[in-house]
Amino acid sequence: MNDFPWLTTLVVLPLLGAVAVMALPRTKGERAATQSDLPQQVALGVSLLTFGVAVVTAFQFDTDASGFQLEETHNWIEAFGAHYALGVDGLGLVLVLLTVILTPVVILASWRDGDRGRWSVNSFFAWMLALEGLAIGTFAATDVFLFYVLFEATLIPIYFLIGGFGGARRSYAAIKFLIFSLLGGLVMLASVVGLYAESAGSDGGPTYLLEELAPIMAAADTDVARWLFVGFFIAFAMKAPMFPVHTWLPDAADEATPGTSVLLVSVLDKIGTFGMIRFCLGLFPEASEWATPVVLVLAVISILYGGLVAIGQRSIPRLIAYTSVSHFGFIVLGIFVMNSQGHVGATLYMFNHGLSTGVLFLVTGFLIARRGSRMIPDFGGVQTVAPVLAGIFLVGGLSSLSLPGLSPFVSEFLVMTGAFVHNWWYAVFAVFGIVLAALYILLMYQRTMTGPVRPGVEGVRDLGVREVAAMAPLLVLIIGLGFFPKPLLDVIEPSVETTLTTVGAEDPAPDVTEADVHAGGSDEEAHAE
């Protein structure tokens, strides 16, 4: 069974699905709602099939082993040393799982969101499937060149999803997103080229395979490695997004359909933090240590800045986008504190943030579509007319503020622990993030959901069966993983160990051990007796 190309299947299946959806009779425009829902149905079917294959794949994964698994390696462009090489470790697998869970949910939730686009309904769902396949490929790539190509390729579907199906200023948002991403990509390209130059000069000739590059880079000149690190880091920081290169995200989230925002923030942005672990730490351990103080300060600024600016937003999607800036700050903090707690927390955070932000974007999307406005002051009293919607919104919000018992708590707490162990100052600043989170979530909840029913809100229907069905899996995961995160942690732990070994970081021992107490206490005890 293990010779079967599981990961390639996971990449190709949605891409073929996208082609199939385009091949169906086109439905478009105002009449779309009365025409057949075949594109949606096929897209949902393909995404569910992909989910099924991913679950089978996950069972092939051995949680006791370290390093990449389910590997497939083929030469691609020998002149550059580029390979078609896929493989997953715990980090990659967790993000692949996030992608295959969120895609069907998003398709189901976005059932009618492709109706009023610039292009056909078919293309809306085809791009979503294409995005799924490319994202899975990005998380599974074990060749830097392949990663880079897929990293850039993911821009195409998301560009069309924002630019073709978004709100009034969708063109502005789409182009802003594209320019940011291309700029980031360009910076990374320089580093990718630089890697080639390094590896071409080595004994084995040019290679982009991670496993072969790591030892080459370990022997490379410190300055060169640092420059290459900076290139990768800037690209990933723009993707993540971190302060101060975050401003494309609020605009994109404001204009995109809710489903697109989920795919963008919950899945694609994770490529940024995924890349930091896989490439920045994996290839440039010394440079990562060197950059740690600056990155940690930026991470803490992102946490606080994102939270504060979120509080001041009047548009719901923009607000959620800024909360993500804060959350990504936590993830980056966890990565660069370079200890087990931080890394396990950060990896788990990537998954949990996908769930909580997914719920928030989708459920507010339902609300915005009903009211025809995304501005917070236009709402009020929704809980009275749509209690189920309000309830799900609250659960999503509480998970976003990391309430214990919901899955994001475990990851945020582990990141805080990691930060404290690394240097308690970071934890002391970051901890204010938990107060800001309570403020931005509960203020939004208060202003939109409570109080008397505002004019324009009376007609808001509660969620229908399809919408509840779309949210249910996320809610079950959020609550279930809140109490039993062990299965995911078991997957994550070995890859964290590998990364930390690469970086050469060791967890500090606690200050006080049993030996201290008994050695120090024995005299006193004897004295007391």
Binding site: T247, I311, N339, L443, Y445
Partner: protein, 643 residues
């Protein structure tokens, strides 16, 4: 200091349990199940039976708790700490966090209080909420609260406590804002949660500091290793835990949310904001005795917080015309007493818990009584509109009177024993602390007498059209039971039972050397209480009570009406600067951070605009640009390759 430090705090070392003691997990699980069923199925589907399901689950937990308590009673003193590992919550590196139960003399008392008073309040709510369309949802939240509170007191480590801690915070948020259509309720709910989050920062930092120092956050591990930590670490740990406790227990400076929390339905005020949740901070300090025993700084801080709050709450209570807010001020004040006792260390822990229990009885009693009065008065809470209600609601009046006598410390009633012990111990610590506690007792007597007179005695000042009537049995029976407990709660002190019972958890102190004989303190306290009652009688009962609050009042009254300017201080020091910061940052983000981007990007956007005019919206153009990008990559690689 008379407290002997030679005897270190007991180390938590649970043994395994059998019989009912292996079924302890059911105690929180039953109400949790109730909450799950009601909240998932929804208000409409469960409304015919949700209230009975909710009441039954809590009552069942009480029965299990009662059997378990007697099992524990039957065990040897050294064997009264039962542990049960449930599952490993999470682990990362060397950090393992288990969820498990610690059932010992301390938690056993809390279980009885929470499920016992909880059952009574559930029962009362069946009647009180009978006409609310969302009664099922109410019981769902109430069950959620009980479950979370039980997790809080039964957990065997700090993160388990934190799980319950935030769970009760959530339930409190949901129940304060239960009537969500009222903007005041929604605001109060949010305020409670946010203020508590400030306290939670203390909890998060304390637990992370514990991990960094001891490598564990379990009570067992921390209590064993605490003596090895540096003094600075212990001081900081104690202060961080105190910050958390201040949030949950509405102690100064995080007290401001409790008065607003009275927006919630009255049974909520009784259960959550009087009898149980707000005492969680006291529980945390007492449970952490193995830390506080090692830090003089920490204990002193607890004492100061307690003393300040007990006076502040009492003063606020004197000026309130809203019956629930007067009681809320009183709750702050009484928890201040408990805090103060907990800060006195080994000598005080048991008395803190003793007062916590008796307060749970009499304050729940009085809050439910207030609810019964409101029920009679068409939900009016203004005591200036009450008066002469003793005949209209006789059962409520009599039961309330028992609570009243208990709280002011009338000799023989439960509050007399518990408060007297705290004041006495406070004098043992320092004259000033003792005097503060004593003054508090006098003020308590004043404001409670004022409340009694304004509500039940004097002349009728009712609103037109109000026809007070006694509440139904489902409401008065809980009142009667709680009244009985308010009277008899003092039996816990018989033969120093509660002190001995808690000794395995909190240690045992040598008796204080007091400057005066014990009976002298008791007499002084009784005398001060009598003065307080007399002053209230002269100032309130002997005068006419205007239906409108007089505006020409002293500075002190004005300050007390304004909650001693707690909100004003928050507003000036935190909210306004905070708002300015947020607004400034939003502008900064839009104009500068994003402005730079738009500025540099505008050229490119302009270019693409031209580009689009040529090939409007054609997929071809995008494909072309992507292709051009790919070409660029290949060219770059070739250039390096060739070079």
């Amino acid at each position: 200091m008379n407290i002997s430090l030679s005897e270190a705090a007991p180390v938590v070392s649970p043994t395994s349990g059998d019989g009912v003691l292996s079924l302890l997990w059911l105690i929180p699980a039953l109400p949790a199940l109730g909450a799950l069923v009601i909240l998932v199925l929804g208000n409409r589907r469960t409304s015919p039976w949700a209230h009975w399901l909710g009441t039954a689950t809590v009552a069942l937990s009480f029965l299990i708790g009662l059997v378990a308590f007697f099992q524990l009673l039957g065990r040897d003193e050294s064997d009264r700490s039962v542990g049960q590992h449930l599952w490993t919550w999470f682990e990362a590196g060397s950090f393992t966090v288990d969820l498990g139960i610690l059932y010992d003399p301390l938690s056993s008392l809390f279980v009885l209080l929470i499920t016992g008073v909880g059952s009574l309040i559930h029962l009362y709510s069946v009647g009180y909420m009978a006409h609310d369309a969302a009664r099922a949802r109410f019981f769902g939240y109430l069950n959620l609260f009980v479950a979370a509170m039980l997790v809080l007191v039964l957990s065997d480590g700090y993160l388990g406590v934190f799980l319950g801690w935030e769970g009760v915070g959530l339930a409190s948020y949901l129940l304060i804002g239960f009537w969500h259509h009222k903007p005041t309720a929604a605001t109060a709910a949010k305020k409670a949660f946010v203020v508590n989050r400030v306290g939670d920062m203390g909890m998060v930092l304390a637990t992370t500091l514990m991990f960094a120092t001891f490598g564990t956050v379990s009570f067992e591990g921390v209590s064993e290793l605490a003596s090895g930590a540096s003094q600075t670490t212990l001081n900081i740990l104690a202060l961080l835990l105190l910050l958390a406790a201040c949030g949950k227990s509405a102690q100064v400076p995080l007290q401001s949310w409790l008065l607003d929390a009275m927006e919630g339905p009255t049974p909520v005020s009784a259960l959550i904001h009087a009898a149980t949740m707000v005492t969680a901070g006291v529980y945390l300090v007492v449970r952490s005795n193995f830390i506080y025993e090692l830090t003089e700084v920490g204990r002193t801080a607890v004492v100061i917080v307690g003393a300040v709050t007990l006076l502040a709450g009492a003063i606020i209570g004197c000026a309130k015309d809203d019956i629930k807010k007067a009681l809320a001020g009183s709750t702050m004040s009484q928890i201040g007493y408990m805090m103060l006792a907990a800060g006195l260390g080994v000598a005080g822990y048991a008395f803190a818990i003793f007062h916590l229990l008796t307060h749970g009885f009499f304050k729940a009693n009085m809050f439910l009584g207030a609810g019964s009065v409101m029920h009679a008065m068409d939900d009016d809470v203004n005591m200036r509109h009450y008066g002469a209600l003793q005949k209209a609601v006789p059962v409520t009046f009599l039961t309330f009177a028992m609570g009243y006598l208990a709280i002011i410390g009338f000799p023989g009633f439960s509050g007399f024993w518990s408060k007297d012990k705290i004041i006495e111990t406070a004098f043992g610590e320092s004259l000033w602390i003792g005097l503060a506690a004593l003054a508090g007792a006098g003020i308590t007597a004043f404001y409670m007498t004022r409340l009694m007179i304004m509500t039940f005695l004097g002349r009728k000042r009712w609103e037109p059209g109000v026809h007070p009537h006694e509440s139904p049995k489902v409401m008065t029976i809980p009142l009667i039971v709680l009244a009985a407990l308010s009277v008899l709660g003092g039996v816990l002190l018989l033969g120093d039972w509660i002190v001995d019972w808690l000794t395995p958890v909190v240690g045992h102190a040598e008796h204080h050397e007091l400057p005066l004989p014990v009976i002298a303190y008791t007499l002084i306290v009784v005398a001060v209480v009598a003065v307080g009652v007399a002053v209230a009688w002269l100032l309130v009962a002997k005068r006419d009570i205007p239906r409108e609050a007089p505006q020409k009042v002293s500075f002190v009254t004005r300050a007390a009406r304004a909650d001693l300017y707690g909100d004003a201080a928050n507003e000036a020091l935190l909210m306004r600067p905070g708002n300015n910061l947020v607004e400034g940052l939003v502008t900064f983000d839009d104009d500068y951070v994003d402005g730079v981007v738009d500025g540099t990007g505008s050229a490119a956007i302009g270019m693409s605009g031209t580009f689009r005019r040529i090939q409007t919206g054609y997929v071809r153009s995008y494909a072309l640009s992507v292709f051009a990008g790919a070409l660029l990559v290949v060219l770059a690689l070739l250039a390096v390759n060739l070079g």
